[in-house]
């Protein structure tokens, strides 16, 4: 499912309409009171020439405000007598300067660039340095200016500086914003055309945009400084054109390539447009097709389309966007090709999709069948979308409210009855987006959340009503606009405007009403602009009569229901019983085998034959592995398989493998390598299908599921619900341990997955040997470290030791605390040797009670908390028949967890207890789980509902390293000790461009190898970064001491797959966290630029929510977690913050507060940065940058920062991810093993030990569904 994007057009009245790719109705784009002549758009930025021939800009659909951080460093020098003061030496930098001191940055001279900007607050001091808190004045000290600044003042500190920061925000969002005219009198040189592009300019930094315009005097103007963070740019500069060229139209492609159209019908092309010179250097002429004059051109990525005066359509061959700046032929193309159809206007959109306006019917057509391989497409398809009646025409005024009908505007009252009804129904979709040109409106965010609901309606209506009247009284009072960036029209509620940006609600209206409200497409169009329109050619929008919409309605069509009904009742008409009839086709299991290779632990492979047997009636299956000569190697019972993933070992793509985890048989997983990818996919699909049937899991998993992601991007899910249901009995959960035949003499030990809290029972049935002298049952707790004689030993706590001694004819009960036994409690011997016995041990709130042979035997009071018991050990000369463990919560061992592949491709997945699951793909887009299962290569085995097309993008990087030598300069001949000359970022692995392969056949390259000019640290003009030696800090400017250099090459690959996921919002995300209380789900996320945001309106029924609310944060963030209205984040330098003042009324909170950083481990005094955070109800689990895990305890609403740090000391495992909620704590260790924390209790929030759940290739997990609740 692609994200929502918009196709813009102007009708013959000059009104702008937008058609959303997720919708099916044209909606009028905010009406300004003036008509528009021309439009040009890239996603979120729409430039237009108004009827007054001035340029207007509309920024829309951005979920995150545009914010720019202004910084200024205040410098002071220590002078004897005065101490530190702003009086600096003449050679020093300015008192207020930029970071390097070269620019004067006096804070009173830093002004807003235009009226479209607002300050977010006053100037503030930055009080941290690299994550370390500074004192309240924020000063940092150094010996002299160009030096390392530190937080502490020393005797040698002669200078100090502090950093002031202030954010400014682009406030003209969702409104038309006038761009200053060229002269004081705007009528002196009006504009006739505008074009924006350059958003995909090769090698340019992200956010680059290019705007070109033409004035009525024929001058070509380029707008400098336009980018996504500076939407209006700085100023117009004139670009000269060759003499005798009278230019009429201009078009900029996404690569920045510029074509101009002359009145004579000829075209000129700008040569040399590159990232360093976005205006190009000279014009070239391109001849029009023979005997024709062109009247309209549009530049795409690899195409130029044109329309000639005889309304023929032309396609320019041979244009290559990537090389258009360096090669003349790539910019000019090499010939015109006529395309069938008669059009009067053409516009090229994203992915070179083409839209045009027909000559005769003035309808908009889409060229279908355009792919990268076939840029000319197949045929024109007419867009047939309904039309929203003009909001500004008197027949459909909509200032009305169903909750308070008195507020109808005058125009509504004069309307006929059915139309009024229409208005009432449409209110929800229209009222909020009601637009009115207001002169002095500033984007005041509606205080909706903080007000009681009853007031909202009246408030809102007043607002819209008033503004509406303003228009009527004084429609032209605001125009024309004289100053830069004036906000000329505002949406009444910019943040919640649902007009054109949401999926239209057309389907919610019943037929009768939609007839009156939505006119059919009778409009004649005069202009179409597709620059912001992303059409998914696989799932085309519902714009065409024969689209999917019709077919989806088949499910509810009367004839289908009738057919199904007939079919079901076919044999029921006769009152005969056919149950004793034989079955004609003998049902047998089926087998399938193929040759494959078994991968050994040391990565060598050996030939084998694998054979699958499956009998669906009995629900049994086996997978046998034979040696090539036919002898059996091993046979797996498919019921024992717990996970199945396709794993492609990254060092060698093209080795299609399946990895099977069989924890009941072996520790490590079984890897099978297939000959071809097709075979591997077929087997994977087959096995998944069978194993899901055996385990009885189909469809949507329960909300308590645990989710995980493998390094291949596969999504795994374990649903505890089937196990919960199957081992539940009388409100208790029961597990039998397979003890029969086990050797008890040397001790049998098993872990108790849920510990042994009050309410738990252990039942043992067995038989004593004749020669028995002693046997014991130990309830063992966690291991503690004990120091004795300076030697550290690990000892286990034993909260309950039950020792039956036949030699002493006594039973001893005791507790071992910290390695030493307490006072013994002795009881009479209840058993005789050689006898069968049955022992039940109950845990009560105060004590254990022991029942032997159904008679109450003894009571043993708790000396240690029984919740700390994690395992039980039985040792002695006896035979066990059965051992049963019952507790109040569900017991599931790792060997019983079946991990199911869900379909799709993601990098992260987060769940919560309310059945809402979000994911983030590698290209940082957000996805929401739809409840389906399957898609992609699992087509046909699973549900069909909720499966959508999905794409994801990987960027592959290789580094080119060079060393300088005095004779030849920089060459790729390094020293013998050097790293590989083509390597990965560490230099330890050889990586070349030629040997980089795609993971499997579902991936394809979407770019060539390109030099990355945006490598962190800065680069020179050829992309090189310099350093004194390898591994050293790299910088972009070559210095005298530099001996080595490197540059980064990247290439992008894309996967096309399907999965049960749907896009949510357009904002690119880095991290996300969900927490649910009842039906309210709070969703917090960190954007790629590092802002914190939260999603409004997320509930289990509307998992995608409404929109993002932005939270200002002084620092850039990288991770976030929320629980119980507490929010913690991690800054880019590893520092931890929590959000103050979050409540139901104020879900955004008030301020960020720094949290005391954790130490790198228990014994160190150095603090470390955090990299992953997961908040549970009262604790926070933090993975630090060294992989160690720390736990912050006693977090509450009153104390959201927690109280103290605890460190995990029982194991040396280092982690890359962790996820926790309540008592569930799951982690992914650095080697990719999924681990579960045992022994987490209220008293011991850090738990007692890690349990290995799934060996393999996990990279991410989310257990926030509370699997054990």
């Amino acid at each position: 499912m692609s994200a929502n994007s918009l196709l813009f057009s102007i009708n013959n009245e000059g009104k702008v309409y937008a058609l959303s790719t997720n919708g099916s109705c044209w909606r009028e784009f905010m009406y300004l009171g003036l008509e528009f002549k021309a439009l040009s758009a890239v996603p979120h930025f729409l430039w237009a020439v108004g009827g007054d021939r001035q340029i207007y800009l509309h920024v829309h659909g951005l979920e995150i405000p545009i914010r720019v951080k202004e910084e200024s460093y205040e410098n002071e020098r220590w002078l004897p007598m005065e101490g530190f003061s702003g009086r600096l030496l003449p050679t020093d930098r300015y008192h207020f300067s930029s970071q390097d001191g070269t620019k004067d940055r006096s804070i009173d001279h830093i002004r807003l660039p235009s009226m479209a900007w607002q300050w977010e607050g006053p100037w503030q001091l930055e009080l941290t340095l690299d994550g370390q808190p500074l004192d309240h004045d924020g000063w940092t000290y150094a010996v002299d200016f160009p030096a390392q600044f530190g937080p502490a003042k020393q005797w040698k500190s002669c200078v100090r500086r502090r950093k002031w920061i202030r954010y400014r925000k682009f406030s003209a969002m969702n409104s038309w914003c006038a761009i200053a005219p060229l002269h004081k009198d705007p009528t002196q040189e009006p504009f006739i055309d505008i074009s924006i592009g350059g958003n995909q300019m090769p090698y340019a930094s992200p956010g680059t945009l290019v705007v070109w315009a033409i004035t009525a005097q024929g001058r070509v103007m380029n707008r400098t400084g336009v980018s996504t963070t500076s939407p209006e740019g700085l100023k117009w500069i004139n670009i000269s054109i060759p003499p005798n060229c009278d230019i009429k139209q201009i078009s900029v492609g996404p690569t920045g390539l510029v074509w101009g159209l002359l009145w004579t019908g000829r075209t000129i092309v700008r040569k040399g447009v590159t990232k360093d010179c976005p205006t190009g250097d000279s014009w070239l002429e391109v001849k029009p097709p023979q005997d024709t004059k062109l009247i309209c051109i549009s530049v795409g990525y690899n195409v130029v389309w044109a329309v000639s005066s005889d309304s023929r359509v032309w396609f320019r061959k041979g244009v290559e966007g990537n090389n258009s700046g360096t090669s003349e032929s790539a910019a000019m193309g090499n010939g015109w090709l006529e395309i069938t159809g008669n059009m009067i206007h053409v516009s090229v959109g994203i992915n070179d999709q083409v839209f045009a306006i027909g000559e005769f019917d003035k309808c908009i057509y889409w060229r279908c069948g355009i792919t990268a391989a076939e840029l000319t497409g197949k045929k024109w398809k007419k867009i047939q979308a309904n039309m929203q009646l003009s909001r500004t025409s008197s027949s459909a005024s909509v200032v009305s409210s169903s909750s308070n009908t008195k507020h109808h505007s005058l125009t509504t009252l004069s309307e006929t009855e059915p139309e009024k009804k229409t208005n009432l129904h449409l209110r929800n979709s229209w009222e909020e987006s009601h637009s009115a040109p207001i002169e002095h409106t500033l984007p005041v965010k509606p205080q909706r959340q903080s007000r009681p609901r009853s007031q909202i309606n009246t408030e809102k209506i007043d607002l819209t009503g008033k503004s509406y009247e303003t228009t009527l009284k004084n429609p032209r009072a605001w125009s024309p606009v004289r100053s830069v960036g004036s906000v000329v029209g505002m949406e009444a509620q910019p943040d919640s405007d649902s007009s054109v940006f949401d999926v239209d609600s057309g389907m919610l209206f019943d037929d009768e009403i939609s007839q009156t409200a939505w006119g059919s497409c009778e409009t004649t169009w005069s202009y179409v602009e597709a620059g912001a329109c992303l059409v998914d050619t696989v799932q085309i929008p519902h714009w065409f009569t024969d689209s999917h919409k019709v077919q989806n309605s088949d499910i509810t069509a009367g004839w289908r229901i009738q057919i199904l009904d007939y079919l079901r009742n076919r044999n029921k008409n006769q009152s005969l019983d056919f149950s004793d009839y034989g079955i004609a086709v003998e049902d047998k299991g089926w087998t399938r085998s193929c040759e494959a290779r078994l991968v050994q632990a040391n990565n060598s492979t050996e030939e084998c034959i694998i054979s699958l047997y499956w009998f669906d009636l009995e629900n049994t299956g086996t997978l046998s592995v034979f040696q090539p000569d036919g002898t059996i190697k091993f046979i797996l019972n498919l019921e024992e398989l717990t996970s199945l993933t396709s794993v492609f070992v990254s060092s060698e793509p093209g080795c299609p493998r399946i990895v099977l985890a069989v924890p009941r048989q072996t520790e490590c997983s079984i890897k099978i390598q297939f000959m071809t990818e097709f075979e591997q996919e077929e087997w994977l699909k087959m096995l998944i299908d069978i194993i899901s049937q055996i385990n009885g899991v189909t469809g949507k998993p329960s909300a308590n599921s645990v989710w995980a992601i493998t390094n291949a991007g596969d999504i795994l899910n374990w649903d505890p619900l089937p196990a919960k249901l199957s081992n539940k009995k009388d409100g208790m959960y029961k597990k039998e341990f397979p003890v029969f035949g086990k050797n008890i003499l040397s001790g049998y030990s098993t872990s108790l997955h849920n510990n042994f809290p009050p309410g738990s029972i252990l039942k043992i049935v067995g038989c004593l040997f004749d020669e028995v002298q002693r046997f014991y049952i130990d309830f063992t707790g966690p291991e503690v470290k004990k120091q004795r004689h300076k030697i550290e030993t690990e000892v286990s706590e034993i909260p309950f030791h039950f020792n039956v001694r036949f030699d002493e004819k006594i039973v001893v009960c005791n507790t071992k605390i910290f390695g030493s036994w307490g006072t013994e409690e002795r009881h009479e011997l209840p058993l005789a040797v050689g006898q069968e016995f049955n022992i039940e041990i109950y845990c009560h709130a105060q004590a254990f009670s022991v029942i032997i042979n159904n008679k109450s035997y003894c009571i043993y009071e708790h000396r240690l908390n029984p919740e700390s018991i994690t395992s039980v050990t039985i040792q002695g000369p006896l035979k066990l028949y059965s051992m049963e463990y019952c507790t109040t919560s569900v017991i599931i061992g790792a060997d019983e967890m079946f991990w199911r592949l869900m379909g799709g491709h993601l990098r992260r997945v987060e769940c919560c207890e309310a059945d809402v699951v979000w994911g983030i793909s590698h290209d940082h887009r957000a996805w929401v789980y739809t409840g389906g299962w399957g898609g992609g290569m699992f087509q046909g085995i699973s549900s069909n509902t909720g499966i959508h097309a999905m794409t994801d993008t990987h960027t592959y990087c290789v580094y080119e390293n060079q060393r300088w030598n005095p004779l030849t300069g920089y060459t790729s001949a390094g020293l013998p000790t050097d790293r590989y000359m083509w390597s990965d970022i560490t230099g330890k692995h050889k990586r070349t461009r030629e040997h980089t392969k795609l993971l499997n056949r579902h991936w394809h390259w979407i770019s060539e190898w390109m030099i990355d000019y945006n490598t962190p640290g800065g680069v020179d003009n050829d992309g090189w970064q310099y350093a004194t030696d390898f591994p050293a800090p790299y910088h972009g400017k070559k210095l005298f001491t530099d001996c080595v250099r490197r540059r980064r090459w990247y290439r992008k690959a894309q996967i096309n797959t399907e999965g049960p996921w749907i896009r949510a919002g357009n904002t690119a995300l880095l991290d996300i966290s969900l927490w649910a209380k009842g039906d309210e789900v709070s969703v917090w996320a960190v954007t790629v630029p590092g802002d914190a945001i939260y999603r409004t309106g997320v509930t289990p029924s509307t998992p995608t929510g409404n929109h993002w609310e932005h939270i200002d944060s002084p620092q850039l963030l990288m991770a976030i977690s929320t629980c119980n209205n507490v929010v913690w984040t991690i800054g880019r330098k590893g520092e931890l913050y929590h959000r103050e003042g979050i409540s139901v009324e104020n879900p955004g909170g008030t301020t960020w507060k720094l949290i005391e950083p954790p130490k790198s481990n228990l014994y160190s005094h150095k603090t470390t940065g955090a990299k992953v955070i997961s908040l549970a109800t009262t604790v926070a689990w933090v993975v630090m940058s060294n992989g160690a895990v720390a736990v912050r305890t006693q977090i509450s609403k009153e104390q959201p920062g927690g109280k103290e740090w605890r460190y995990i000391t029982d194991s040396e495992i280092s982690f890359k991810h962790i996820s926790s909620v309540h008592k569930d704590v799951w982690g992914v260790s650095t080697d990719g093993t999924l681990q579960r924390r045992l022994g987490v209790t209220a008293d011991n929030p850090a738990g007692s030990s890690w349990q290995r759940v799934l060996t393999g290739a996990a990279v991410y997990t989310s257990a926030r569904g509370g699997s054990l609740c």
Binding site: G369, N571, V585
Partner: protein
């Protein structure tokens, strides 16, 4: 795309109760053989489902006939094995359903002029595959079948033979996809039979000239302009006339990819 699994499954699971009698003149024993009762998949072919029945009756017939080809009749009408069983039932008993369907088993007097010989199941497979190919030529100009591998063809056949829905549909879904711009099939493979078993096969497009979906009713009025009240039956049900042809073909075709419709 055939994506309505609910309907597909219902069609696949359609079964007919059949009662086989041995023809009186075949019985060579004093003891009368018991009739043989069996549930038969509607989508299958008789040669695929009568092995057990044949074994049941073999000991009652004369030894010299035991190797000769068996054939079936209903009310004296020999049944053509190369039609799906469900269709044969609809053809002969559609208007007057009687369950179980009582059929007579013969081992002699093979009606050479009516029936084709069927020495083994390979013949059925060959016939089946050729029908699928013919249907694919109508739907996609034969492009799908020709790109399939031999093992795909095998899977299709084995799925049908062993009554394995998933095995069969894993391949058959490719045959039911529309190519190009989702315009549906080129033509709908369908045969309309009159009571006497004579069929009428015409080129039928799934779309009307204005590009809208053609319904069954529209096709009927094109094919039978003179008749007013025409009903069509398949899989034991009368098809509602407003059903779109494309959908019908995707979901209600027999495994040979043809719609076998009976006039009634």
């Amino acid at each position: 795309m055939a994506n309505d699994r609910e309907v597909l499954r219902e069609i696949w699971d359609g079964k007919l109760p059949i009662c086989f009698h041995l023809a009186q003149e075949e019985i060579m024993e004093i003891q009368q053989p018991d009739p043989f009762y069996v549930m038969v998949p509607r989508l299958s072919y008789f040669p695929l489902v009568i092995d057990k029945m044949k074994r049941h009756f073999l000991r009652f017939i004369s030894q010299e006939n035991s190797d000769s080809e068996m054939w079936l009749d209903f009310n004296g009408q020999p049944l053509k094995w190369h039609y799906p069983i469900g269709f044969l039932y609809d053809l002969y008993c559609g208007n007057d359903p009687q369950l179980p369907w009582t059929l007579t088993v013969h081992f002699t007097k093979f009606p050479e002029d009516i029936l084709l010989h069927c020495p083994n199941k390979d013949v059925v497979e060959a016939h089946y595959m050729s029908t699928v190919k013919e249907a694919d030529v109508l739907k996609h100009r034969g492009q799908v079948m020709s790109t399939m591998q031999k093992k795909d063809h095998n899977q299709l056949w084995l799925g049908l033979q062993n009554d394995k829905f998933d095995q069969f549909w894993a391949i058959n879904r490719r045959l039911m996809e529309s190519h190009g711009d989702n315009d549906g099939f080129k033509h709908i493979p369908l045969r309309i039979y009159t009571d006497d078993g004579v069929y009428n096969q015409r080129l039928v497009c799934p779309k009307n000239t204005d590009n809208s979906r053609k319904t069954l009713q529209q096709m009927i009025s094109e094919l039978y302009p003179e008749k007013s009240n025409v009903n069509l039956r398949t899989h034991g049900v009368i098809i509602p006339p407003e059903t779109p042809l494309q959908w019908l073909s995707e979901h209600l075709s027999y495994p040979d990819n043809f719609l076998h419709l009976c006039l009634c």
